[in-house]
């Protein structure tokens, strides 16, 4: 006679997929996606710098050189009209 171990279905689901689900993200990464160490080494080198980006101003978002020196202020709206 065949009887059903009803909990089997639950236990079955605790096979490989359950290991995927309950493990930490890094373990999932280690099990199921490429590390590509050579590529990562080159990326790491580009990601971590210790100085400014060596690009000319035209490539930056801010096209005008940010300098307080370039601020042009409005003159005072006083009752004197003599030009300075």
């Amino acid at each position: 006679m065949k009887f059903v171990l009803f909990i089997m279905l639950v236990l079955l689901s605790s096979c490989a997929p359950k290991l995927y689900v309950i493990d930490r993200q890094t373990v999932i990464e280690t099990e199921a996606t490429g590390d590509f160490p050579n590529l990562q080494k080159s990326f790491e080198k580009r990601a971590e710098n210790f100085g400014p980006k060596m690009v000319d101003r035209s490539r930056l978002k801010q096209k005008e050189v940010p300098q307080r020196a370039y601020n042009i202020l409005n003159g005072e709206l006083t009752s004197e009209t003599a030009k300075k």
């Binding site: 909990i7 990464e29 099990e31 971590e48 210790f50 005008e64 005072e76 709206l77 300075k84």
Partner: protein, 1159 residues
């Protein structure tokens, strides 16, 4: 040796021609006479002193107390509304909690002898207690109790503490005093009232003074009383109120250590637009002599900071004035931090009247102008007159600080009474201020009624300026949304009849709002109005050009030039600022390239220079022409001409005045721009030359960095050595050699050992950099390098499987300091943000890491490789933050870019993986197959861990899609492997082959439809799993989970045997599982574990079923099973809810059945 003779300068001279040589060498002649340190001193004397930042980070840091040895500061730090007192070493910048982490505390106040810190603590009383702690033994003693709310401690000498106290919230505060010798006594109450921020001076000429903020009818004022201690009795005199002649509210008084000055903050403007000036608004700092307060002398407080910096909580100390200022961070939110200024504030003490006046003229912000006007009024009584007040009023109006403008309108009205002119202005300003409180798009009925009332007032007033009434009315009507009425109100006005510049200013605003004239036409009229001063005309002329730029943008240069010519021809005043600026723009359009040898360019440049030079006597126009020229050349990437104009500007600026420092700073930044321009054009030699010129003139770290990189890329190391020997010899470089040396060391090392870390080398360079004491130009780069070295040291520890909180904290702090100091430097900020994102990812602060990636993504990428690196880690960051869908979106977006498929096919694999994690298995399969089709080099080694991992991912996707045959084929390939090829073994990042094969077997078993074969696979899995008992670390499994998995497999085998009607084999398997149940119990100490119980239940259920079938059946190891079952049964009894759960209920049923059958 004079710098003119050095090789790189000679090299430059030989490529320059004609006037360019003259200009260039003249600037060098200027430079040749000046040493780096002298230049620094020169700059410091001639510009406003910027507050120096002491603390960093996202928390708010405020309220400073300085140690007596000037080496540390105590302050309150606020994180998520929890406040704690910190102590920070001034030199290193490292801070730590001073009071323990579990207790909220604030208001640090150090005793005059420097030995005891008093503060408000919430450890024992949620309402606050005054506690003291000796700095030597760190023992805390709380001197007030739970029966009162106590806060804001201050010292009266070193033996008495004053503080604010009250029993109930409805009561006003009192000032209480306790003596350290008689802490058991009740505090002596001096007086009570709506008071805040009390403070006491040191004893001066036998007197001590108490100051505090008094709140009267919602306004604050500062009061002073003398405080005397006679025969152990402490008393105060009658109060002396003094109101400062400034708009806004006074707050946070503090005496300096000599008792000469009283410092305070003044909230001047309703900057958060709630129509009230209060603690949420911007403030500036002032000081006033105590004797002037006591003598009630007429005076004006000395301004110490401009509103722009938004500073308060002054804490004067012999080593400087420590203040709290609010500044925006990169996200746009503000945070409070501690800063330091000289005791005399932002204006150098040496500035005389002439310098201050010149400073006003050359000011670059309205706040700076106001600061300098206040300084004039403070130092020179002759400036305390209406003319100055009008100028201050005017600046507040233009800067939009309406509450302060109202103050001065009222003042001038009371003083001048010029035919209701200022009264009308006050009405207008008040209405504008009220309008800001209204919600956008809908005006309240209260506001509309208010406007109606104000209109009546306006109509009843007669102004000396006829147009003024109608303009004010029109403005009020516009604020009420009554445009047609406003139009009618000014219908008869003509600009020509207006007599006052302020009236004209508002008239133009009305016209603008009504759309009666285009912006360009308005600006054109304003620029030519004789009512305005030269500087105003120049301003409107400049705005006119900027508006034209906006209209035509880059698309229609011909159209822009045509418009300029038409305007020029129409102008009646051919010698106006507008005419000159239009001419300038037309000349600038004549430059076709940056080629200085081009004859046409040379001719145009000569003309340009001549026209600019002719305007030298007209300072504002001259400066506007220089600015326009520099920025135009910059936009066109004409670096040579940009540099020439910039150096012209510098050559002409007088070293005596603040204009020199502005000219200098822009010249240096342009020098760097030119160098970067050369680099961008791959002219590395010239780039290096330009960087070296700038570094010689300024000792700027960014220039040093650029020079070194330029020479290294051409492998000219000897040039670097020669250059720095020369700089050192001539005194052009000092302590910054430490930075240069560290930089060279790191470049050298990384060139020879990419991706490696020499901990000893990095640590020694970090220590050298940490000892640097000089704050140089661009100190951001020093902190950046220090952050990088600490980051690498942290990384080395992580790679070795260790932790390292010290280097992590150092790295983060240095990076944040660098970020704060380089906020306007996009080149530095974009790289720094990437570093910070990577640092936090390494430290597994994934939320924080993602924040930095988000900030970084809006900046430029130098090339595809950098963009690829960014998207690689950005996608990972989303994955680590449990957002696989976003990780997929980032990866897919990047894959759409040109050349990515060819150069970085690995992104397809990542897209496949993220898609699977996001449960889009169809997409996952598609991306895997695309990846395989591309035959990437990274997949060529079929024994590499990467190959297996990718196959596992692919197989899983197929499995989930129920593509059984394809999935089986993938997993079988994994089972065929005998070993993995060597790969970098980083702890936690490398799994042995067996781990993958265990997983593969699990999948194969699930896919197998033939039961016999399935049992075979499960048995194989079981055996392989069992062998890993001594290897659990390698496969990242805990012992209890290993045992549970073994149990699970055994039960799966048993079930499958039953499917094949192999009852005896099933029973055998379940019997074998009992020893594992026993091991599991020994490991966990738990007899109610779910897997354990289910396994036992299966045994008993099988035993019951087989017994029913065949009464003679004897279960193997029944005794052992009953023993285990009894323990579980007993353990279950106290938990009826657990017993009723299906799996435990089943256990009870079968266990009791078997047990009863044994009787």
């Amino acid at each position: 040796m004079k710098p003119l003779k050095s090789n790189f300068i000679s090299h430059l001279l030989t490529i320059s021609l004609g006037m360019q040589i003259y200009l260039f060498s003249s600037s060098l002649a200027d430079a040749a006479d000046q040493k780096t340190y002298a230049e620094k001193t020169l700059l410091q004397k001639n510009e406003l002193i910027i507050p120096q930042r002491m603390t960093v980070g996202p928390n708010d840091n405020f309220q400073t107390a300085v140690s007596s040895d000037s080496k540390s500061i105590f302050f309150t730090g606020s994180t998520h509304l929890a406040e704690r007192i910190f102590i920070q070493d001034i030199r290193s910048g490292f801070s730590r909690s001073f009071i323990d982490d579990k207790t909220d505390s604030k208001d640090p106040s150090l005793s005059p002898d420097g030995k005891t810190l008093a503060y408000t603590s919430f450890r024992h009383d949620a309402r606050g207690d005054i506690c003291i702690q000796s700095l030597s033994d760190k023992k805390e003693k709380c001197i007030t109790g739970k029966d009162s709310e106590d806060r804001s401690p201050f010292w009266i000498g070193s033996q008495k503490i004053g503080f604010l106290t009250r029993r109930w919230i409805e009561e006003p505060y009192s000032i209480g005093v306790l003596s350290l010798d008689h802490l058991d006594q009740k505090p002596k109450i001096l007086f009570l009232g709506d008071i805040a921020d009390p403070v006491c001076s040191k004893e001066v000429n036998g007197s001590r003074w108490l100051a505090y903020t008094k709140i009267i009818n919602g306004r604050t004022t500062i009061e002073v009383r003398s405080i005397s201690e006679a025969k152990d009795e402490i008393t105060t005199s009658e109060r002396i109120s003094f109101s400062v002649d400034l708009p806004g509210l006074s707050s946070f008084p503090q005496f300096d250590s000599d008792g000469e000055y009283l410092y305070f903050g003044q909230y001047t403007s309703d900057t958060n637009r709630d129509f009230q000036v209060d603690g949420r608004d911007k403030s500036a700092l002032y000081r006033i002599r105590l004797k002037d307060i006591l003598n009630k002398a007429e005076g004006f407080p000395e301004p110490l900071s401009s509103i722009e910096y938004n500073c308060n909580y002054p804490s004067p100390h012999p080593s400087g004035l420590f203040v709290t200022c609010a500044s925006p961070d990169l996200t746009g939110d503000g945070s409070l931090d501690i800063y330091r200024l000289p005791l005399s504030g932002m204006i150098p003490e040496s500035w005389n009247e002439k310098k201050i006046l010149r400073g006003i003229e050359t000011a670059r912000s309205y706040s700076d102008r106001i600061l300098l006007y206040y300084s004039l009024m403070s130092k020179f009584p002759q400036y305390r007159k209406n003319e100055t007040l009008e100028k201050v009023l005017s600046n507040y109006i233009i800067d939009g600080q309406l509450a302060s403008a109202i103050f001065y309108a009222q003042k001038l009205e009371s003083k001048k009474a010029e035919g209701n002119y200022y009264k009308l202005l006050e009405i207008l300003l008040t209405a504008e201020l009220k309008a800001k409180q209204e919600r956008d798009g809908s005006l309240s009925s209260t506001f509309r009624s208010f406007i109606d009332e104000e209109l009546k007032k306006v109509n009843a007033l007669h102004s000396s300026e006829p147009a003024w009434n109608s303009i004010v009315s029109a403005r009020l009507l516009l604020l009420a949304g009554r445009n047609a009425d406003a139009n009618h109100a000014i219908a008869t006005n003509k600009a020509q009849t207006i007599k006052s510049p302020l009236v004209l200013y508002y008239y133009s605003q009305v016209l603008r709002s009504l759309g009666k004239e285009t912006e360009l036409s308005l600006l054109e009229s304003l620029a030519q109005s004789d009512l305005f001063t030269e500087s105003a005309q120049v301003y409107y002329s400049y705005e006119f050009l900027r508006q034209i730029d906006a209209v035509y943008q880059k698309k229609d240069e011909a159209g822009r030039l045509r418009y300029l010519n038409e305007t020029k021809n129409k102008l009646t005043k051919k010698n106006s600022s507008l005419a000159h600026l239009i001419d300038l723009d037309l000349e600038l359009a004549g430059f076709k390239s940056d080629d200085i040898k081009n004859e046409s360019n040379q001719k145009v440049y000569a003309e340009l220079l001549k026209n600019i030079s002719e305007e030298k006597p007209h300072y504002f126009l001259y400066r506007a022409m220089l600015v326009r020229s520099v920025l135009t050349f910059s936009k066109k990437s004409f670096w040579n001409y940009m540099y020439f104009i910039s150096s012209t500007w510098l050559n002409v600026a007088s070293t005596e005045y603040s204009e020199y420092s502005s000219a200098r700073r822009q010249f240096l930044s342009i020098g760097l721009e030119k160098a970067y321009g050369r680099w961008g054009a791959k002219e590395y030699s010239y780039a290096g030359d330009q960087f070296s010129i700038t570094s010689r003139l300024t000792d700027d770290l960014e220039a040093h960095h650029g020079f070194i990189r330029s020479r290294l890329i051409e492998n000219k190391k000897k040039d670097i050595d020669d250059m720095y020997k020369s700089l050192k010899k001539d005194g052009y470089i000092g302590e910054n050699l430490i930075y240069v040396s560290a930089l060279l060391t790191i470049f050298d090392y990384q060139g020879a050992h990419p991706n490696e870390i020499d901990e000893k080398l990095f640590k020694s360079n970090l220590e050298s950099l940490e000892k640097m004491s000089v704050v140089s130009f661009n100190p951001a780069l020093r902190f950046y390098l220090m952050g990088y070295l600490s980051h690498k040291l942290f990384e080395a520890k992580i790679r070795a499987g260790d932790q390292d909180s010290e280097n992590f904290e150092k790295s983060e702090r240095y990076y944040m300091l660098a970020l704060d100091l380089s906020r306007d430097n996009e080149r530095v900020v974009s790289n720094l943000l990437f570093n910070l994102a990577m640092l936090h990812q390494l430290a597994e602060n994934h939320g924080q890491s993602l924040t930095f990636f988000e900030l970084r993504k809006t900046n430029i990428f130098e090339d595809l490789e950098e963009k690829a690196a960014f998207n690689w880690y950005y996608g990972k960051s989303f994955f680590y933050n449990l957002q696989p869908a976003n990780a997929l979106a980032v990866t897919e977006a990047f894959l759409k870019e040109k050349e990515v498929e060819k150069k970085y096919p690995e992104f397809y694999e990542k897209a496949a993986f993220y898609a699977a994690q996001a449960n889009d298995f169809q997409k996952s399969k598609k991306y895997y197959e695309t990846f395989f089709q591309l035959e990437p080099h990274s997949l060529s080694d079929r024994m590499a861990p990467d190959w297996i991992r990718i196959q596992m991912g692919y197989g899983y996707a197929l499995f989930k899609l129920k593509r059984s045959n394809e999935a089986r084929s993938v997993f079988e390939k994994i089972m065929e492997l005998n070993s993995l090829s060597n790969s970098e073994k980083q702890v936690g990042k490398f799994l042995p082959l067996v781990q993958y094969q265990l997983l593969a077997l699990g999948f194969l078993a699930q896919l197998e439809t033939n039961k016999t074969e399935k049992i075979h696979l499960l048995s194989r899995r079981f055996d392989l799993y069992k062998k890993q008992g001594g290897n659990l670390d390698q496969i990242l499994i805990k012992k209890e989970d290993w045992l549970k998995t073994l149990l699970t497999i055994q039960n799966q085998i048993a079930e499958t045997e039953l499917d094949l009607n192999n009852s005896n084999k099933a029973m055998e398997e379940l019997s074998n599982s009992l020893s594992i149940v026993s091991d599991l119990r020994t490991t966990t100490g738990n007899s109610l574990d779910r897997v354990d119980v289910m396994s036992l239940t299966n045994y008993f259920a099988a035993a019951v079923a087989l017994k029913e079938r065949d009464p003679s059946f004897r279960s193997k190891d029944l005794g052992k099973a009953l023993e285990l079952g009894s323990t579980t049964h007993l353990a279950l009894q106290p938990f009826p809810e657990l017993k009723s759960a299906p799996e435990y209920d089943a256990f009870e049923k079968y266990f009791l059945k078997i047990k009863s059958s044994q009787k």
